[in-house]
Symmetry: C2
Subunit: 419 residues, 2 copies
C-alpha cells in the first residue's frame, strides 16, 4: 500500500515498500518538460537535466558519479514533454545518500560556464545520434506534424542552432520558473520506509519557497504530414490519431482499442501486416496521453516497394475495426492490460515511476482495484463506438521517412478511412 | 535457492522461486546460435526462431499468440551467437500453459512453405531495419573484424542473399542437428514450483532422443579492421580487445577492468571523453565472453571533426590504465558489479536467464557467494597486470562507420597502445 505526504510548501512524497527487496528505486519527478518551454528556449529543459550532473556548489561532476557508484548504485535522468525525472537505484542503506545527491543536483546546479560549453557539445552529439536513428526521427516528426508550431510539437532535445547559444542565465531562468516544490514529487519503491523518506525530504526540500508555474501552452491536435524522402533500407511510416487526454474517461477505451489494433502478437496490425503479409518486422499501436490532448500512435517500417500497400492496409485495419471487432479480442486486451499492470508492479523502478505519474495527474494515487475496475468497464460496444469515431472523424497526422515517395498522401489516407 | 533436475535424456530444469511474486518468467534456452551454423547456413538459427512462432502441428501462428495473450502474458524469443531462447512471462497459474506453448513451438514447428515465404520477408525487413541503425551495424562489423571468416564473426540475422533461399529442409536440418534434450535448459523464476516444472518437463521433453551435437567451430581472435565512410551525423568508433572466454579465471578481472574503463558515469572513458571533452554522448566498455574466446568492447560516437581525437584519446586511456589505476576505482567497480548482480536478481526474467546461462557454462549454478568471492578476489595488482597485458599485447580489432576518414588506422592505434 502506498503512502503519500505533502509538506507545507507543497512538495509531495509518495512511496510504496516491496517486501523482500534489498534495493530501492528513488527519484524526483518535476512537472517541467519540453512543452513548458517557449519556442526560443526549446531544448532548455533537457539541457538543464544534463547540467544537473555537471556539478553543484558541493560536488563536482565526478563526485556526483562516484558517490552513487561507490555504493554500487546508478543514477540517471530523462526529460519528456511534460516531466523531467532524476532517479537512482541503490541498496536499502544508501537511500539517504541517493536522495541527498539527487536533491543537490536538482536544487543546486553550479552552471559553471566551462561545463556548459562541454555539455553543449555532448547534447549536439546526442542530437546527431538521434538524427542517425530513423526510429527516433520518425516519432519527433509525428509529434511535430500533429502539434505544429506548438510547444508540445517541438523536439525534446531542441534544435542544434538554439542549443549552441544557451547560457547559465537561460538555465537559471527555466529553473526559477519551473522547479518549485509544488512541481516536484519524490517517489520511491522497493526497500523504502515512508517516514524516513519524509524526514529526509523535509530537510532537503522543506525550505523551498512555493512557486506559481504558468500553465503550459494549450495543445491542439492538427491533421498534418511530414515526409522526407531519403535513401534508407526501410520506409518508416507513423500515424497519429487524435485521442484522449490524461483525465479523459475515454483514455482506457482508447488504450484497449490501441491494444486490439497493435498491442501484441495477436493484434490486428501484427497479424495482418507481419504474420499474413510479411511486410514489416516492427509494427505496433499504442495510446499516449498528455495533460490536455492525446494520440494513438501507429508505426510500421517496410521496403520502398511496399510502403503504399502498408499504409493502405493500416487504414483498412482502422476501418475493419468498426466492423468485426469481437468480444474475445476486447477481453484479451483487457486481460493484457491488467496483467501488464501487475507485472510492472513487480519492478521497483516502474512502480516508483507509476506512483509519480499517477500522483501528478490525479493529485492522488488511484488504487489498483479502481484502475482494474475502469479497465473492466470497457466493453465491446465502447470499443466499437470508439472505432466508429476514429474512422468517421479521421483525425490523423502522419510522418514518413526513407524511400516513401510511393506512399499515399495524408489526405488520401484520411479519405480512405472516412469513406 | 535454486533447484536443478536432469531428466534421463539429459534435459535440465533449473528454477528459483521468488516469494511475493504473482508472475513467473519461464523459458527454454537452447545451445544453438549463429556460431553453430556452417557458412552456407548463416542466419538459419535466427530464421528457425522466427518460424517457431509461425505454427505447429497443433497451433496456428494466431493461436500461439492468442493462447498466451488471452491470459495477459507475453511470449518472445531471441537468437544470440551461442544460444536461442524462447521465453514467456505469465501469471502463476498460467505457467503450465506457457510451457506447453513453448514446448510446442520449439519441438513441433510446422515449417509450412507459405509461412516460410512470409517470414522470409519479415526477416528481410528486420535486416533492413538493422542496416538503418548505425548502433546495430557497428557491432556486427566489429564481430566480423575480430573473427573474420569464422562462424563467430558472422551476423546473427544472416546475409539477405542467403535468407532468400532457405527452405523447410534447411530448417529441419538445423533442428535435427542442434535441438536435442542435452542442448536444452528449462529455466524459470518468480512464482514457480520446481516439482511441478519437472513434472511438466517430463511430459513435454522427457521422450526426446538424445543428440550428439558437433562442437562449434573454434574461434580465433584476429586483429582486423572494418571501416566504411558514409554520410552520417556521427562517426561511430568501436574497438574490441581480445579477452577471456567464459570459464577463464581472468574473466572477472577483465570485467572489472572494463568497468573501471567504461562501466558507468565515474568511469575513465565517460569522464575523459564526455565529461571533460564533450566529444560524445554515448561511450562504454564491457567484457563479453564466449565458449572459447572473449573480448572487451569499447564504443563511442562523435562528430566527423573529432573522430581522430576520440580514437587516440581512447587508446591513451588504455595506456593510462597501466599507470595510475587506484584502489578506489577497483573497489568501486567491484561494488558496482556485486550490487548490479543483486539488483538483477530482483527481476524474474533476468534471474531465469542467469540460471540458464550459468548452468549452460558450468554444468551447475554457482552460488551467489561463490560469485561474490570471485569478484572480491580481484584486486588492484590484478587489474594493473591486466591493463599492462592489454597494452603490451595490443590485440585490437576496430569497426568504423560514418564520417570516419580522419580516424587513425588500426595499425596506428595498436602502435600507440603498445608504445
Amino acid at each position: 500500500m502506498h503512502r503519500l505526504t505533502t509538506l507545507p510548501n507543497g512538495f509531495r512524497i509518495v512511496s510504496e515498500p516491496m517486501p523482500g527487496l534489498a534495493s530501492a528505486s528513488v527519484g524526483i519527478w518535476v512537472t517541467a518538460g519540453a512543452r513548458h518551454e517557449r519556442a526560443e528556449e526549446n531544448g532548455i529543459a533537457h539541457f538543464l537535466e544534463h547540467m544537473a550532473f555537471k556539478g553543484t556548489a558541493r560536488r563536482s561532476a565526478l563526485q556526483i558519479a562516484e558517490e552513487i557508484e561507490d555504493v554500487g548504485g546508478y543514477i540517471n535522468a530523462y526529460t519528456s514533454r511534460e516531466m523531467t525525472a532524476y532517479y537512482a537505484r541503490v541498496l536499502e542503506n544508501d537511500v539517504p545518500l541517493a536522495l541527498d545527491v539527487i536533491a543537490d543536483i536538482v536544487l543546486n546546479p553550479a552552471f559553471d560556464a566551462r561545463e556548459i560549453e562541454v555539455e553543449r557539445h555532448v547534447i549536439l552529439q546526442e542530437i546527431g545520434q538521434a538524427l542517425d536513428t530513423p526510429d527516433d526521427v520518425i516519432f519527433d516528426w509525428l509529434q511535430e506534424a500533429a502539434y505544429p508550431e506548438q510547444a508540445l510539437g517541438r523536439p525534446i532535445l531542441g534544435p542544434s542552432g538554439q542549443i549552441s547559444r544557451y547560457d547559465a542565465g537561460d538555465l537559471r531562468g527555466f529553473v526559477g520558473g519551473h522547479y518549485g516544490p509544488g512541481q516536484m514529487i519524490l517517489a520511491a519503491s522497493g526497500a523504502v520506509h515512508h517516514d524516513k523518506l519524509v524526514a529526509l525530504a523535509e530537510t532537503l526540500f522543506g525550505q523551498l519557497p512555493a512557486l506559481t508555474m504558468p500553465a503550459a501552452e494549450p495543445a491542439r491536435f492538427h491533421c498534418g504530414e511530414r515526409r522526407e524522402v531519403k535513401t534508407l533500407e526501410q520506409a518508416h511510416f507513423a500515424l497519429a490519431i487524435e485521442g484522449p487526454a490524461y483525465r479523459d474517461p475515454d483514455l482506457f477505451t482508447a488504450q484497449i482499442y490501441a491494444s486490439v489494433l497493435g498491442g501484441g502478437m495477436s493484434s490486428r496490425l501484427f497479424q495482418k501486416l507481419r504474420e499474413e503479409r510479411g511486410l514489416c518486422y516492427t509494427t505496433f499501436a499504442q495510446a499516449g496521453a498528455h495533460e490536455d490532448t492525446g494520440s494513438i500512435t501507429i508505426y510500421a517500417g517496410t521496403g520502398a516497394e511496399d510502403v503504399a500497400a502498408l499504409a493502405n492496409l493500416t487504414i483498412d485495419e482502422l476501418r475493419r475495426a468498426t466492423e468485426d471487432m469481437t468480444e474475445a479480442e476486447v477481453a484479451r486486451a483487457r486481460t493484457q492490460m491488467k496483467a501488464g499492470l501487475l507485472m510492472g508492479l513487480e519492478s521497483p523502478s516502474s512502480r516508483a515511476e507509476r506512483l509519480a505519474r499517477l500522483l501528478s495527474i490525479w493529485g492522488r494515487v488511484p488504487s489498483l482495484s479502481e484502475t482494474i475496475d475502469k479497465i473492466d468497464a470497457v466493453d465491446l460496444p465502447a470499443i466499437h463506438a470508439y472505432a466508429e469515431r476514429v474512422a468517421s472523424e479521421a483525425r490523423l497526422s502522419a510522418a514518413l521517412y526513407g524511400p516513401v515517395s510511393a506512399a499515399p498522401s495524408l489526405e488520401a489516407l484520411r479519405e480512405r478511412l472516412a469513406a
